[in-house]
Amino acid sequence: MTYPNGTRALDDVDLEIAKASFVFLVGHSGTGKSSLLRLIYRETLPTRGQVEVDGIRVDRLRRSRVPQLRRNLGVVFQDFKLLQDKTVWENVAFALQVTGARTRDVMRQVPRVLDLVGLPHKSRMFPTELSGGEQQRTAIARALVNNPKILLCDEPTGNLDPSNTTEIMELLLRINLKGTTVVVATHNQAVVDRMRRRVVRLEDGRVVADEERGFYFGDRMRAADGLG
């Protein structure tokens, strides 16, 4: 996958992510983690190759079908992307309201996800009144309110302190246990090494390691230990 400015972001990536699994994408900044996620929610298109999500060829998806795809995907970012002039409740409800959901469903789904992320008592607060962890939990609630099968997280803990990071990761695990596929792009070594999930390591746009129950520096650590 090459960007219009000529930067080759991903090269010869062949990756399959199983339903209901939990996957870390790791690597330095600029190694293609975000590009890989963007291909999945069709923010960008591959220059060559195929992207398939839940049986749908995303690279061939008609423009008018993109909203439908996005409703089945939740996306969470490092900077939360919350609307500052809306309350927690309104931010979460927004995702349903702008996709034409019925008021009845809004009234049912918003409390459900706020409960899930542990923020029912903060629903009337504005993002500026929340901690970073709470803001990210709001963003996760918004990503989940459409009941997506897949949750994509791009550096979800990049702006958070260690204790908030742990909370968010535990939340993501809980979500995964309910059957949602969770893909987390991160360069937080401590988190990855503690959680021992599948780790896909990218370097210069290529997959250089892919291990179940891996470490952040999986291969190298073992090479150093003489296990490789």
Binding site: V66, P67, Q68, R70, L83, V98, T99, G100
Partner: protein, 293 residues
């Protein structure tokens, strides 16, 4: 009907409309100025057209009959002229009446007593339904047997017709330019409001809102700005009609202006519709550009 949905939509439109108040005021002002200019221009064009029409309608064809045409033959010719559907009226002027008129017209300029024997033939004075037909009708009448001569103010007619055409054409161009300028300014203004809300749009796209849905509030904003702007313009125009028009009529007695703008209600509706259309089109285009990138 899901009232919660309607309320959400309307509250979004209203929230954005009030949040970008400065830009909305710019857009409304632009529409107001454009529509006011448009209205004023339409009025001037209408007035000028009226002057031209009045001039044209005073044009008549003088049809002189051959000397010695009998009264019954003259009547037959008159009937034949009047038969043409393009002819509004044909007034018979016997030679005696013609002389009388001529005396009246020339009194004081020459000694009318010198006109002892009547040099004038019997004549018809023909008025037309549409002044544009004057050449054709005059030609047709001149071919009627017993008609000696046909005269009309040929140059004046041609010129009046040409001036009318040119005015109409210039008018169209000015109108088009005004409307396009307004649409561009509105679309730029709305582009600023779109830019101010780019985060919100990005989130909407992320969670799977359709482009139509994203576009809708902006188009409604454009509609609102267009309507408010043209209402403002209508208020200004109504004020001008009440305050300025009587003075104008007093100052220009020879111009056949009316006491009120003709078809005021229709014109107001048209201006309102123009303002609304300009707002909708302008916002549609500017959001569309943003959504495609």
């Amino acid at each position: 009907m899901d009232w919660g949905r309607v309320r959400f939509f309307l509250s979004e439109v209203w929230r954005n409309f009030t949040r970008n108040a400065a830009m909305q005021i710019t857009a409304i002002g632009t529409v107001a100025v454009t529509v006011a200019l448009l209205g004023g221009f339409l009025f001037v064009r209408d007035a000028l057209g009226r002057v031209g029409d009045e001039m044209l309608h005073q044009i008549q064809i003088s049809v002189f009959l051959a000397d010695g045409t009998s009264a019954s033959a003259a009547q037959a010719i008159g009937a034949q002229i009047g038969h043409d559907p393009r002819v509004l009226s044909a007034q018979y002027v016997p030679k005696a009446a013609g002389l009388h008129e001529m005396r009246d017209r020339l009194r004081g300029q020459i000694d009318t007593a010198l006109l002892t024997n009547n040099p004038l033939p019997d004549a018809y004075r023909v008025r037309l339904v549409r002044p544009e037909d004057v050449h054709v009708v005059a030609g047709a009448i001149s071919k009627i047997p017993g008609v000696a001569n046909v005269t009309y103010a040929q140059d004046a007619v041609t010129r009046a017709l040409r001036v009318g055409e040119v005015l109409a054409r210039i008018g169209l161009v000015v109108l088009a330019v005004l409307v396009i300028v307004a649409a561009i300014i509105i679309s730029n203004t709305i582009r600023l409001t779109v830019y101010a809300r780019r985060r919100e749009i990005a989130i909407m796209q992320l969670v799977g809102a359709t482009n139509t849905y994203i576009r809708m509030p902006f188009v409604c904003e454009g509609l609102l700005a267009g309507l408010l702007g043209s209402l403002l313009a209508l208020a200004v125009l109504a004020l001008a009609e009440r305050q300025l028009l009587p003075k104008l009529i007093a100052a220009l007695p020879f111009v056949p202006l009316h006491g009120a703008v003709p078809n005021g209600a229709t014109l107001a509706l048209e201006l309102l519709a123009t303002g609304a259309a300009v707002g909708v089109v302008g916002s549609w285009i500017s959001v569309g550009r943003y959504l495609r990138t």
